[in-house]
């Protein structure tokens, strides 16, 4: 009898203890624990690493012989990049910014094909570390490429580049005195967001007086297109397609001095231009072939490539979206 009673109470006792334990555990869920020991160790490591990093950065600031000294008259390069929202936009802008961060005195003018600035681009630019201006202008519907149109059907980015030029002209006229004079020596370059640029290219274009030109790789159906130079002057253009255009160049193959842009207030890109004539529509009024300045070792080196990025396949994503199971749209891609 005594035995049976003992077991029964033991089990009841266990049951009560387990119940209390469970309640305690449930209450502990999500509460902070007391981790001061681990805190201290990690704190020390982090503090030490941060100190190292800061020390290295100080050291670098003091003695970097390869960095060109920030002379007040190092001409600024204004890079105008038209961009539009699509899946690979953030990736393209990311790797572009990683190149631009290496170029001193560069000002990135990003012009979105949109009726208002997007949060993606705004947040990206502010975190990128590049000096930038964010603009936007919407391409009118009839000039826009429709789904399924080949990429060469309509010239793209004309309105956006013109908006960049407009901003430059406005800013230049508002900048007076020494800064205004310095601004006149600046160079304007139109950089699409999917091309690839080497760092040397920007140093080549910095000395542009009117319009400078150089070869572009992987464009025009060829390994590269380039101006042909004889005795230091451009005599013709080596291109596989319609060499009789006034300027058979790619957008990435020339840079214009800001002074030239300012003294020709009507120079702009013609959005209705025929295929391949967009660059000519801008350059025609600005300069003649003889006045072009050849760069990149008399146009014998390829320092920029007209790469294009594939459109990522979204078959499975589309299928999931139809079922309402698409990926979290809050995760920015």
């Amino acid at each position: 009898m005594r035995m049976k009673l003992k077991l029964k109470t033991v089990f009841v006792f266990y049951f009560m203890v387990s119940l209390l334990g469970l309640v305690y555990a449930l209450m502990q869920l999500g509460q902070r624990c007391d981790c001061t020991e681990h805190d201290k160790m990690k704190d020390n490591t982090i503090y030490r690493l941060r100190g190292e990093l800061h020390k290295l950065q100080e050291e670098v600031k003091k003695c970097d012989p390869t960095k060109p000294p920030k002379k007040p008259h190092l001409p600024t390069i204004y890079v105008i990049t038209p961009t539009y929202a699509r899946l690979v936009q953030k990736a393209e802008l990311t790797r572009l910014s990683q190149t631009f961060l290496h170029v001193p005195q560069l000002h990135w003018v990003v012009v979105e094909d949109s009726d208002k600035p997007t949060a993606l681009v705004r947040d990206f630019l502010s975190a990128s570390g590049v000096a930038y201006t964010q603009l936007h202008t919407l391409t009118p519907k009839e000039r826009k490429l429709q789904d399924g149109d080949p990429s060469w059907l309509k010239p793209r980015g004309a309105e956006q580049r013109n908006e960049g030029l407009r901003w430059l002209r406005e800013t230049a006229s508002a900048t007076k005195g020494q800064q205004g004079a310095a601004m006149e020596t600046s160079v304007v370059y139109f950089a699409d967001d999917d091309n690839t640029y080497s760092l040397m290219l920007f140093e080549e274009m910095r000395s542009t007086q009117r319009v400078s030109v150089w070869p572009v790789g992987l464009v025009g159906g060829m390994r590269f297109e380039r101006p042909v130079v004889d005795k230091g002057k451009v005599v013709r253009f080596h291109t596989g397609w319609r060499p009789n255009r006034p300027f058979p160049l790619d957008m990435a193959g020339f840079a214009v001095s800001l002074r030239l842009v300012l003294t020709n207030p009507d120079a702009r890109f013609d959005g209705d231009a025929q295929m391949g004539f967009l660059e000519s529509s801008f350059l025609q009024g600005l300069v003649t072939m003889e006045e072009l300045e050849p760069k990149a070792d008399m146009c014998t080196k390829v320092l920029v490539w007209h790469t294009r990025t594939e459109k990522p396949k979204m078959k499975r994503e589309d299928a999931l979206q139809k079922q309402g199971l698409g990926s979290d749209p809050k995760v920015e891609v």
Partner: protein, 334 residues
């Protein structure tokens, strides 16, 4: 008999308590570590990238230190004795866009401190194009090469791959690492497989620097989705894979979605990517399953909620105007 029942009762009383005490003792330590790591990863943002603020934010202690440093262009960042080296293994092969891809990749890597680029060419011998490019970047690099045998190369139809592209090259790099570093040396290192056409954010490299065994994160534009990512539970452990294509693979992750601690590579010298008989999508698993279990994976990128790497692919340029003889000067390198 009363005596036996007594004993039975005592055993029944004591046994659960001993079990409870041993299990509780074990569990008390592990969850503490896991929870603390999560707090650390979430609250901290690694600096060293384009000159913003560095913050260290401990939710308990209310220390917020914001240091704004102006970005200083340097090629590349000075070597630190403290930071673990990131060994980036990139297989590459000759094609028109190769120099462009490697150029923009180099522009990215020039921002990352303590980066060692192991570039492995799929070629009979090291090409002057790549050698020159590597030299001119100023990066810390190792230039290797191994040619995938012709009949094993990926042919036109991707439906019949013999050896997945880049396998032999990645394996050569792993072998080089094992021949160069000894398991007993204390040089910390992280191994990352970076293909030459992807896009990497600078934050990614700082995330992977703290890898203890194998760390994982989401990758955009793979598997026909906006992104694929590991599934992470509330305790910060990976328990599955958010993919549509064969989510039951041992490691349903892209090559760009994980990094391995060098020590693990050195301690398991038999672990390589399987060369033949690997089903599509199982390449990564063929290596990872020899190194680590699902439970050991460390989720990064805010518990796998941020995209820090994109699986971009570059279009093949249509060189229609070159014709058979070649229209452009072959001496001009592109």
């Amino acid at each position: 008999m009363p005596k036996r029942r007594d004993i039975l009762a005592i055993v029944l009383i004591v046994l659960p308590w001993t079990l409870l005490i041993t299990v509780w003792h074990q569990n008390a330590i592990a969850p503490l570590l896991a929870i603390r790591k999560d707090d650390g990863a979430g609250g901290r943002r690694m600096a060293g990238t384009a000159g913003d603020s560095k913050e260290y934010c401990s939710p308990d202690k209310d220390i917020v230190e914001v240091v704004r440093t102006e970005y200083v262009y340097t090629r590349p960042p000075p070597w630190s004795d403290v930071l673990p080296t990131i060994h980036v293994i990139t297989p590459t092969y000759s094609r028109p866009v190769q120099k462009a891809e490697l150029t923009r990749l180099a522009n990215t890597f020039l921002h990352v401190a303590n980066l060692h680029w192991i570039l492995v060419e799929d070629s009979q011998r090291r090409t002057p194009l790549v050698a020159r490019l590597l030299r001119e970047t100023g990066l810390n690099y190792t230039h290797l090469n191994v040619e995938t045998p012709r009949n094993y190369k990926l042919r036109g139809d991707a439906r019949d791959p013999r050896i997945p592209r880049g396998t032999m090259q990645r394996n050569l790099a792993l072998r080089w690492l094992r021949e160069t570093f000894s398991p007993n040396s204390s040089q910390p290192g992280i191994v990352y497989f970076a293909d030459d056409d992807n896009t990497y954010s600078l934050e990614l490299f700082e995330e992977m620097r703290s890898t203890r065994k194998v760390s994982v994160w989401p990758v955009a534009f793979v598997g026909g989705l906006r992104y694929e990512s590991p599934k992470v539970n509330a305790a910060g452990k990976v328990y599955g894979w958010k993919t549509v294509f064969d989510p039951h693979r041992p490691f349903a992750i892209d090559m760009a979605g994980f990094a391995i601690n060098l020590r693990l590579i050195l301690f398991k010298p038999q672990a390589y990517f399987k060369l033949r008989g690997v089903k599509g999508g199982y390449q990564e698993s063929s290596l990872l399953r020899e190194l680590v279990t699902l439970n050991d994976l460390e989720p990064k990128a805010a518990n796998c909620t941020k995209i820090l790497v994109w699986h971009t692919r570059t279009e093949k340029p249509v060189l229609v105007n070159e014709s058979k003889k070649g229209f452009t000067d072959p001496n001009v390198e592109i």
